[in-house]
Symmetry: C2
Amino acid sequence: MNNYITLLKSNQIKVTPQRLAIVELMDVHGHISVRDIFTKIQTNFPSLSLATVYKNINAMVENSFIKELKIVGQDAKYELTKEEHSHMICKKCGKVEDIILETKSIVSSATKISHYTIDESSIQLFGVCPECS
Amino acid sequence: MNNYITLLKSNQIKVTPQRLAIVELMDVHGHISVRDIFTKIQTNFPSLSLATVYKNINAMVENSFIKELKIVGQDAKYELTKEEHSHMICKKCGKVEDIILETKSIVSSATKISHYTIDESSIQLFGVCPECS
DNA sequence: CTGACTGCAAACGTTTTGCACGGTA
DNA sequence: TACCGTGCAAAACGTTTGCAGTCAG
């Protein structure tokens, strides 16, 4: 049985070919924009509608099944929700990569300073990747 | 002599009433969206055009005179460029606040792991502010 | 006085919506 | 079979553009 089918079902999301294609693309690419999802899927699935992509993406974000990633200078990208992680962004090639960083110390010092109750963080680091330099 | 006039001039930006209003609003509010700039200024400056706001914001971002801030769940906001800092975002009231955090250690560990040359970072911490809890 | 800035209206691209049809469970 | 999801077309947004007139330096 297909992994993506299992994944959707375990999140109470009804399985359709469109959704399978979206989830597979996200899994393979890691981070992907609506436009890219649409054009990539449409190649071998010409009947796919952009409205359907939007509707599904929105519902999945609503669910927390996927996460929206806003990056300055880029279109919004989407990724499957997984272990908390940060992002490395290459300013030359635009690549976005996951990286697991220790955030406890920064969060605890921010808590001390601000007196916020912090439960989520977004850390993006910009620079040039090894391949581009 | 008005501070904002000095500020614009020192960045080689021609001084106009529209730009003064925009810069003043950003300074006072810290972080503000295009829509809010437009509606707030328009109250006592009815001839202001939304296109002018966009043109100025874009030129100022281009200049690095101001910075764009993309936050999940909110419109893009703009802030005057100043000392590097991070952001606290209250999930209840939507408030965005600056906070100065030590980022050296996280950046250096990310550099070791990823081999990126990192020169910029965006750190956003989400939670509930003291006033809302 | 000249080039840059503004306001307006139109154009554009993106996202959302309503509705009839089709497919999943 | 019942309901949810899909595709289509239109509508609603947000942002950009071109142009003619105005203003800052």
